[in-house]
């Protein structure tokens, strides 16, 4: 039988971590094993350093060690030839821990380094949207569409429509990206201080003229319901502008997407 190349160990470990994060199913014992293994590969020079740092910051994020995550991110992105995948994941982690000021320059770096890459522009748009940077996401629509002119529409029209509608709603309400980011950062801080750090951001949705950001946390539905009331109260108390009429932040239990997926598969 013909030999078959296997993925490098560090890339397989990183796929494992990103899939845990995307599925919101966390095996923390396995995460710690991966963290140790990535450190070993790094120390022995057996894998590229950027990928090892990425494994470290993803693992630290899952185990809620924010200081370690931020430190590994700064090492990962210090490399001038850092891969776009590392930057993309660093952006998501920084957004989840409310560090938008650090996330934005990384998105801009990714776009500046790969202005002709459909994949990177699409990814930048998704991550900007996830981080609440809707106006900037809307700005990238035109350059992205120039690159995908011959592609089938796929999911793009729905995403584009969501971004443009959201941007219109927010700008008509006097909201800027910075204001959305401040609210998200406050909500993330609030959840962290209540022992329920955000591990994944879902997406913005428009519902009856209201703009909703969803944050996935490890909590049961009842706890989440209480937290949602508390977040709403906190935002109303903290921000005196009328933004709460059009913009909500809600947390959802991580198992919720599991139920959704099971229902869909059962249809």
């Amino acid at each position: 039988m013909t030999a078959q190349a296997q993925p490098t160990e560090i890339s397989s470990l990183n796929v494992e971590l990103t899939q845990m994060l995307d599925a919101s199913i966390y095996d923390e014992a396995r995460v710690r094993q991966i963290e140790v293994r990535a450190s070993y590969l790094l120390s022995k020079g057996l894998a590229d350093s950027g990928s090892c740092y990425m494994a470290q910051f993803l693992a630290a994020h899952i185990t809620h060690n924010e200081a370690a995550a931020v430190q590994a991110i700064s090492r990962a992105v210090a490399n001038p030839v850092c891969s776009a995948t590392i930057i993309q994941n660093a952006v998501v982690v920084l957004s989840c821990i409310g560090r938008y000021d650090d996330a934005v320059p990384l998105i801009e770096r990714m776009v500046a380094e790969h202005p002709d890459s459909k994949r990177i522009l699409f990814s930048a748009i998704i991550h900007l949207q996830l981080g609440g940077l809707i106006a900037r996401a809307a700005e990238l629509i035109e350059p992205y569409e120039r690159l995908r002119i011959n592609d089938p529409p796929g999911r793009w029209p729905a995403l584009k429509d969501a971004i443009l509608s959201s941007n219109k709603l927010l700008s008509e309400s006097g909201f800027s990206d910075a204001m959305v980011g401040e609210r998200l950062a406050s909500a993330v801080d609030f959840l962290r201080t209540h022992g329920t750090p955000v591990l994944r951001m879902s997406r913005f949705t428009l519902d009856s003229g209201e703009f909703i950001s969803q944050l996935y946390i490890k909590a049961d539905p009842e706890q989440c319901a209480h937290l949602n009331f508390d977040i709403a109260d906190m935002l109303v108390d903290k921000f005196e502008d009328p933004g709460s009429a059009v913009f909500s932040i809600v947390c959802r239990p991580h198992a919720d997407i599991y139920y959704t997926k099971s229902l869909a598969e059962g249809q």
Binding site: T2, P7, T8, D22, R119, H127, Q129, R155
Partner: protein
């Protein structure tokens, strides 16, 4: 004049089963591995090497050189699928509408205004159907002997995945790359383009 015509089984099935003359026939939704096993294809960086999921296969009409039908210039290029009925498939580019007649396999701009110009049909995988799982390997490029592929799983959700990943391979080990059951043989790869053959699809 040699005509290259590659129409998928799905499209041929449409031709065989369609009864109405003027009605538009929706493209079928089916479990698809694209390109199909055994096919050889070339892709640029950022494009999908292999996808599996429930989706429509959407044909594109490719005309390799500038042509003419009567007074009408037919510029070379890619024409997007617009509609299909029992007789013909309609493709468009800008304001120009072309019809591929299924019986004579020629290109027309209207009744009796036809040409036997060379063309090819390429299928692309349309949007995966909502609530159905899709797996994709994407070509991320090659540096030295190391090749990287992005792996994506979708479930009909526009905004996922939030986290990105990629798998790296050392081409000096083998030109056959495997991931989750999908196996592709690299024929030629540069940092911008890859030519490869599909050996097997993703494992269910």
């Amino acid at each position: 004049m040699k005509r290259t015509l590659t129409i998928s089984v799905a499209i041929l099935a449409c031709v065989g089963t369609f009864q109405g003359c003027a009605n538009r026939k929706p493209l079928p939704v089916e479990p698809v591995t694209f390109p199909s096993v055994g096919a050889t294809a070339t892709r640029n960086v950022g494009e999908a090497l292999i996808s599996h999921g429930f989706a429509k296969l959407v044909p594109k009409l490719i005309i390799a050189q500038d042509e003419q039908i009567g007074e009408v210039a037919i510029p070379k290029g890619t024409y997007k699928f617009e509609a299909e009925n029992s007789d013909r498939i309609k493709f468009v580019a800008g304001t120009l509408e072309l019809y591929l007649y299924k019986d004579k396999k020629n290109i027309c701009i209207g009744k009796g205004k036809c040409s036997d110009m060379p063309y090819s049909i390429e299928n692309s995988m349309g949007a995966p159907m909502s609530n159905h799982f899709q797996q994709t390997l994407i070509y991320n490029g090659k540096i030295g002997n190391r090749i990287t592929l992005g792996y994506r799983e979708f479930s009909g959700d526009v905004a996922r995945p939030a986290f990105s990943n990629e798998v790296s391979y050392d081409l000096s080990e083998s030109a056959i790359l495997g991931y989750k059951g999908a196996r592709v043989e690299v024929v030629k790869a540069t940092n911008t383009e890859i030519t490869y053959k599909i050996l097997s699809g993703f494992l269910p």
